[in-house]
């Protein structure tokens, strides 16, 4: 079970809506004190069916995490009209080279968070993608407050 504050769930949903008709994407950092901070990243694919994070923004965020002692808590994106669970492409792309599912995923510690706009209110769901391409849902509890 993962607990996230309502303010974070709302921030991810707001980002997903603002990016329509395209998929939204970003990262959530865990601060040394345990707080969670969302960072929007430009979807350079600009597509309702795909996302690809802007690499320079992604690199700057990695540098910021290292400089501030933060951890990559989650990699999030939206599905605009389909269920909020990782698609076969999402699973393939969790590995590098893409589809190398027999190796460790690129970010084994990070949750893959999906916001689906196919339902109202949009569910925010979290998954772990493991070696072998196995997907395990991690129940998300949304806590009141910030």
């Amino acid at each position: 079970m993962t607990t996230i504050p309502r303010s974070l769930a709302e921030a991810l949903i707001a980002h997903a809506r603002e990016e329509l008709p395209n998929e939204a994407c970003g990262l959530v950092h865990e601060l040394p004190g345990g707080g969670l901070e969302p960072h929007r990243v430009t979807n350079v694919a600009r597509s309702p069916y795909r996302y690809e994070m802007d690499g320079l923004e992604q690199m700057r965020l990695e540098e910021a995490r290292e400089a501030r002692g933060e951890r990559l808590f989650a990699i999030y994106h939206s599905h605009v009209a389909t269920e909020g669970r990782p698609s076969p492409t999402d699973v393939r792309m969790a590995f590098f080279p893409p589809g190398a599912v027999d190796s460790e995923p690129m970010y084994p510690e990070a949750l893959y968070v999906l916001v689906s706009l196919a339902q109202e209110p949009p569910p925010v769901r979290a998954f772990r993608i493991r070696r072998g391409g196995e997907v395990a849902e991690e129940p998300v509890e949304v806590a009141e407050g910030r």
Partner: protein, 92 residues
């Protein structure tokens, strides 16, 4: 031509767990050759089976995407900085 190389966390294991290192080359392709000679297996982290830069690897020369320069043939100068970063991507 000595250039600074920055490697994103997910491929640091391919270069002996270093984040930053120096390498030699007058182009990105030569730089990859130099890294491969010192860290066998590095090429597989950045190139596809044909040897071209992988579609989902981002390579930056001083913060410019080499896709918009000359790709693997982009020329390097002394003191340049080159970054390698696998893309985060997905889709339906």
């Amino acid at each position: 031509m000595a250039v600074k190389v920055y490697v994103a966390s997910v491929i640091q294991k391919a270069v002996g767990d270093q984040k930053q290192l120096e390498a030699e080359g007058s182009t990105i392709a030569e730089l990859i050759d130099d890294l491969e000679s010192r860290y066998p297996g590095f090429r597989a982290h950045v190139s596809d089976e044909s040897g071209a830069l992988h579609r989902f690897i981002n390579v930056y020369l001083n913060d410019e995407d080499v896709r918009y320069l000359k790709g693997a043939e982009t020329a390097l100068s002394e003191g340049d900085s080159v970054s390698f970063l696998p893309a985060l991507a997905g889709g339906r």
